[in-house]
């Protein structure tokens, strides 16, 4: 058997062109960087995790198996360690106005403790990172991707005024508990947490310390993200994993879950060549900001909103059983290259291959028949609406 000819993106945030990014030639000639360890390193290993390099750390790609972990999360509750992600506290006079120069969200009117999905943009409107930002009083708590966090901090410090400070909360770990049974599990450990609605957050006491809990995640399921001091992370993970409904879940299932949920992964589906409009993230461009502009790349982004982007991120249903992965080409009926696959794999929930990628806007309508080319082999596909598997978020006021 050959060594792997190409990997799917285990690496949820690693930049293109590095090993494990799905690019067979990725990382060629790159200097290997020494890998860091995360606060739960021995916790994963004690539970039989298979470890891989990811975002500069050794991280668990799977425990019992990706499909079993994936399906468990869709039915019960999966515990993910996402401590590689960057937790930032941005503060100082005028922080809300200052952040609005870099991102298209409305931070001035942002209510307390309501996380918002946003995008750190370069001056051309390209996406430097995607993130969650939450007002905590006068400060903003921002969670960014692991592989991009150091670059994000440099970028923000360079572009924010001197009185606005970016603190990297290196002493905090981040756990995610995801799945339809997550709320009932977390309620037994942190009473009151299940009162949060989707995209609400708040501080909670646990064993004499503080947790910051947000009802959010990246699986398409209901769930929570829990910021905990690194010194208490193993105790919290133990308390959660002790529940019969909870299993530890690796990066492999995290990737297949978010792909089914139609959620883009930075470094694969989003990068500096893509804009929020190309990526179909128009919901992240606030109404007031559309009227007033004043954010990085506004000229291009507002024009794309008005006239449509030249290409768009879409989903694909792939005929047959063989997965088509990142790097495959999208072809029209005449064999012209009209796009590229940025994520793809086998959907454990649907038991079929699915993919995500960019295609010329004229060919982006749901149901459009196209072909993919991977390793000289052609695959029949149709443009499919996303998510592939419906979201089941806990929206307050919505019927269950």
């Amino acid at each position: 058997m050959s060594r792997e000819v190409h990997n799917g993106p285990t690496d949820e945030t690693q930049a293109r062109g590095t090993p494990y990014s799905g690019d067979p030639a990725g990382g060629e000639g790159a200097e290997p960087q020494p890998l860091g360890t995360l606060p739960l390193d021995s916790w994963y290993r004690a539970r039989g995790a298979r470890m891989v390099p990811f975002a500069g750390y050794e991280m668990p790609v799977q425990y019992e198996g990706i499909i079993a972990e994936h399906l468990w999360t869709r039915e019960n509750a999966g515990l993910f360690d996402v401590s590689h992600m960057g937790q930032l506290l941005v503060h100082g006079r005028g922080v809300d106005v200052a952040l609005e120069k870099l991102m298209p969200a409305d931070f001035q009117a942002a209510p307390d403790m309501k996380p918002k999905y946003s995008l750190l943009l370069d001056e051309d409107g390209g996406i430097i990172d995607d993130l969650m930002a939450t007002r905590r009083g006068d400060d903003f708590y921002i969670v960014v991707n692991g592989a991009t966090k150091h670059g994000d901090i440099v970028e923000m410090e360079r572009r924010l005024p001197g009185e606005v400070v970016v603190d990297h909360m290196k002493e905090q770990a981040l756990l995610a508990l995801q799945g339809p049974r997550a709320a009932e599990v977390l309620e037994t450990i942190v009473p009151g947490a299940s009162d949060l609605g989707f995209m609400q957050a708040g501080p909670f006491d646990w064993r004499g310390g503080k947790l910051w809990i947000s009802r959010s995640g990246y699986t398409g399921e209901d769930g929570f993200e829990i910021s905990v001091p690194a010194a208490a992370a193993a105790d919290l993970a133990d308390a959660l994993a002790a529940h019969d409904l909870v299993k530890p879940i690796g990066l492999g299932a995290r990737d297949s879950l978010r792909l089914e949920a139609g959620l883009p992964l930075y470094g694969h589906d989003l990068d500096r060549r893509t804009t929020p409009v190309m990526a179909g993230l128009n919901f992240a461009i606030n109404k007031r900001r559309r009227a007033d502009g004043g954010f990085a790349g506004a000229l291009r982004i507002l024009a794309e909103l008005e006239n449509g982007p030249i290409e768009k991120r879409v989903g694909f249903e792939v005929d047959g059983r063989q997965p088509v992965r990142e790097g495959a080409l999208v072809l029209d009926g005449e064999g012209n290259e009209v796009g590229r696959i940025t994520s793809g794999g086998f959907s454990p929930s649907l038991q079929r291959p699915i993919a995500m990628g960019y295609v010329a806007t004229a060919l982006s309508g749901a149901g459009t028949a196209l072909k993919l080319e991977q390793r000289s082999k052609l695959f029949d596909v149709r443009v499919a609406p996303m998510p592939f598997v419906p979201h089941r978020y806990h929206r307050k006021g919505a019927s269950a």
């Binding site: 050959s2 060594r3 190409h6 990997n7 799917g8 790609v61 990706i66 059983r321 063989q322 086998f346």
Partner: protein, 123 residues
Amino acid sequence: MSVYFTKEHEWIRVEGDTATVGITDHAQEQLGDIVFAEVPETGKRLSKGEEAAVVESVKAASDVYAPITGEVIEGNSKVADDPAIVNSDPEGEGWFFKLKLENPSELDGLMDESAYRDWVKTL
């Protein structure tokens, strides 16, 4: 009957001039959940080292090389229909293809089972 193993984590079971080829338990373990397998067609002549079959898990795609030269007698349609049997029984029901052995000397220098299992422990 003799069973040989390669450093590419393939096994070859030789009975008379028929060689059955599959991937080892270690290989399926490394791949994880297998979701796709493609086996060669009957009558195809494979040279040693040539790409013979494809196996894909949720995370990775790999080629299975012909470990020896010969004509394909049969591809295992069961693994194409239900690739998970490569995980559950890699060295039995989960075989990939059978070849008509042309050059038995190609088997020289391959590992026997105990040598292979010992070598895998060192990886």
